[in-house]
Symmetry: C3
Subunit: 402 residues, 3 copies
């Protein structure tokens, strides 16, 4: 989609470099004569939103360490489906704020996963886009949260690195299977690895002990009145729970990181989280899990965002994303009850499976809005691409952006 965001961009040399044309496709028409017509500060901020494809061009001629940092930060932001190094930096800051040990674990996970991908010889484009980092990050964060050995238990870095490396292998194993139906690998590797890790090291393991999980549907000993304020807080905590972080400040910072990447995505995230809380209320899950955002929020958040991410924004796909969030939160509670009977958490199996099934939908109403995986960018970008495409009524065959 070369240069289709060019109008209104440009201005300073820096922002030109960050426009959305990819290096090999950029033909110079992006930074045009409109420079200087608008306030620089606002434009610089806008250029930092979206996929920041231009940054790749910028760092290509810079030292390898800088490139690695960009890949690393993209990997971090991929967890919330963003592909924006600044979002990644904000998220990392939020994690370090919530718990330095967790922040370190997350960073190690991304690095271990990415370096494995480089060593095994994965496709370079996938590595630079951060696709081989987010599963590793989630694995290491969850290992840290479930570990009952306390913070700064350095031995934990061992399973963390191995688990993150295994994610890379799983990622490239699952992609040929899922590619058949144009499906993303998503967080399947994370879910598989973390469940296996928790199964290998049972709660009473002498080296890597961990807390067992409780089903969210378990009866409450003394059910109290519902606290609306805590319920509302739980909606926002649900955003942080994606990174296994349960304090409000960092959760809001992570929401800010989403907002920076795409306001539409942040909106869907909050809607999904609210849908999850409603669903949780309707089947009477434990209040504690609603307040902490642990149940009925992470999954729906993801489902709603994914639902919006792979479809062009329209009222139909918007309703569809919310329906996906509801469906996902029920499945999430079901999985939590099922896996809880053997002391396992539900992870994000529900969101992953529901979204995978939803992407397979063949109904005429939705199939027209579906964006091929290779062309998915930020929702705002997808929306404007579609408008342009509708206007011109022709799709440029060269415009596939990976």
């Amino acid at each position: 989609m070369k240069g289709d965001h060019g109008a209104g961009e440009g201005g300073t040399q820096c922002t030109v470099l960050w426009t959305e044309g990819q290096g090999e496709k950029e033909k110079g028409q992006a930074g045009g004569p409109r420079a200087g017509q608008r306030p620089h500060a606002l434009w610089r901020l806008l250029d930092c939103s979206g996929d920041m494809v231009g940054l790749d061009t910028y760092v290509r001629e810079r030292p390898f360490a800088l490139q690695l940092v960009v890949w690393f930060l993209r990997g971090v932001s991929r967890v919330i489906l963003a592909n924006n190094p600044l979002s990644g930096a904000l998220i990392l800051a939020a994690l370090l704020w919530a718990s330095p040990w967790q922040g370190l674990l997350g960073a190690v996970g991304v690095l271990a996963s990415m370096l494995t991908a480089v060593l095994v010889g994965q496709d370079g484009a996938e590595v630079t886009a951060g696709l081989h980092g987010y599963n590793g990050m989630l694995v290491s964060l969850l290992m840290g949260v479930f570990s009952s050995a306390g913070d700064w238990y350095w031995w934990l870095l061992l399973p963390t690195c191995l688990g993150a490396a295994a994610c890379t292998f799983l990622y490239s194993s699952l992609s040929p299977v899922l590619d058949r139906w144009d499906l993303p690998v998503a967080v399947f590797p994370f879910n598989i690895v973390i469940v296996l890790y928790l199964l290998v090291t049972r709660p009473d393991n002498p080296y890597f002990p961990h807390y067992p999980s409780l089903p969210v549907g378990a009866l409450q000993a003394n059910a109290t009145e519902l606290n609306t304020a805590q319920l509302l807080q739980g909606i926002f905590l649900g955003v942080g729970q994606i990174f296994a972080c349960d304090s409000l400040g960092p959760s809001l910072l992570i929401l800010g990181a989403t907002l920076l990447y795409s306001p539409l995505q942040a909106l869907h995230g909050v809607l999904g989280s609210a849908a999850g809380t409603l669903a949780g209320l309707s089947v009477a899950v434990r209040h504690g899990s609603l307040y902490s955002g642990l149940s009925g929020s992470t999954g729906p958040w993801a489902a709603c965002v994914w639902g919006a991410f792979f479809f062009t924004f329209s009222w139909r796909s918007h309703l569809f994303a919310i329906a996906t969030a509801f469906l996902c939160s029920y499945v999430d509670i079901a999985f939590s009850n099922l896996l809880g009977t053997i002391g396992l958490p539900a992870c994000s199996w529900a969101a992953t499976l529901v979204v995978t099934l939803m992407l397979l939908l063949t109904g005429r109403g939705l199939a027209t809005y579906r964006i091929p995986i290779g062309q998915v960018r930020s929702p705002e970008h997808n929306l404007s691409s579609r408008s342009q495409w509708k206007a011109g009524n022709t799709l440029d065959p060269d415009s596939t952006v990976v």
Copy 2:
């Protein structure tokens, strides 16, 4: 297969309309000069058996409400693999006879599922053939049976409608995956949705409580002598258990509905049910589950019928269907023991998985009898098509009937 049932049909204007040529393919040769040679009453009955494709032509120019009723009844009859509105009406009558509340739930399930399909914009041919109804019906019937809140608990309509709608989404999600290997979606959506529902609402749920399931292999406290009469009755009750109905009268009426659609299918159903009872005896399941037809009957019934449904009838495919029934009943008992440990029923996972695997069989002995899914009609029709095809030794390339 245009007009290949034309000979011997026709007679009155009504029966001409109900011959098997589809409207857009019918070229008028169906109702021929042989009219009036045979007693009208018998022929009218025969015209009501099989797929009744002609009825679609008849209702196409009638009011929408009438069309909807035909689609609805086809959806009901699809549960037993029939595609015949009259069978559907008989089944609905049997359900209302057994329990009006269950009958109502079933009807609501079919409607919710069908209307969702229309709203989401599913393929029209699938809707008119009733393919988007049977999963929803099974879900709502099972929700009603497992509910421990008693009959006429109106809140149950909420999960019933949501579950039936989810079936439609799952149906159109799973079909592109299964289509790769020319497999039917079958009752996968029903099985997924009902298991998730029971997991979400654990037995002690305050809004939607349900009975937990017991493994069929659980030891009997006081094992009594086997009662042969009850065992035989269990074989026929197994037919009713497909619709979660455990009284003999309605079960026989449902068997009659099958007989109306296809005598071959009814025969295979009873054989399968008997095979299931034998298999249950061989591994000593609880007598109660044999008597009620709950274990070792539903699954095998389905397996045997499916085994016969997708293969042209011959001694080889007949034996194969019976082998499938035996295999299926063992798998059914296994699943019941497995899922029973966490209080879940085996649903029809066994039949669905076994038949799916059986349809994948690549042995030369069976592959020649396999009918492509798009061309499957009633067993009698398939048989005569094949005979004609063998006689003419050429397959009309235009004859694909969806």
Copy 3:
């Protein structure tokens, strides 16, 4: 790969017949003028290693009973991925040595599975290569080991034969699905059938009782010091555990059978077994399961061998096979802990799934070493084929050997 092993072979009429050219491709150039240049005894031994394709030519004109014996022995050796009748004979001898009843059960399993394949009309080439025997053998061996009814309980032959027959059906059902991604069916049928059998017949079944399984991670009542000698012995016992045999002598004989087929494969097997023991130590599994070779050995053994089997030998694929073994042993422990909670063994699910995923790997580093399934032979043969191919820099299009 016609005649590419011809140099150095031949000599006596018998050895000519056992060269690697297949009958319909052999053009006489294999047994050449180099005969008599090397000691006969050594060459005859070498001719008995590898795939012994020439033997098929030799028996083709002999009585059917002899052919059946060759197919049967190939089926036995297929369990350890060998395709060599002499290895099969050695393994059968080892099993009979360890327990005549188990040896008999294994033989019955192979025969039941093979005869079903012949009856159902499976592809002849698959039957003669023994592909329809090894799953049946594993099923019957495991049924025997888990049965708590003691040896020579003749009724056990009934489920043994049915289970082995079911393996054949599953094999030909799963192959079209897995073929899409060029994956082997491996021991999926065995794993499915044995888990279903154990689920159908719960431990307290009156006809077919069996021992329940314990999770390997279960806490030890009185943990003693680790015994290094027993640990080393466990590595070799792990080889025997593939055939559910836990005495040292037969295990070494089975290792010898592997060595006869391919020294590279035997080496990988021992390395895999050692990797499994290391992995088991790292997460503190029960010492008993390490000593007996039951945990952390069977799976890794298989994984390492498979890892080596489907890739041309190189330092890269060697490291990869060892990594697979480690990954597999962790997954094996996870599955054992998971399935142990409902009294089921982990079987070889871990090895099967891990190897399947590993074969899907799309990394550039490994994909070049991957051998298409239809062309896989013994590792030594694959290695020399690749060297020849590299030398000639062209792949003979006719050289596909099934």
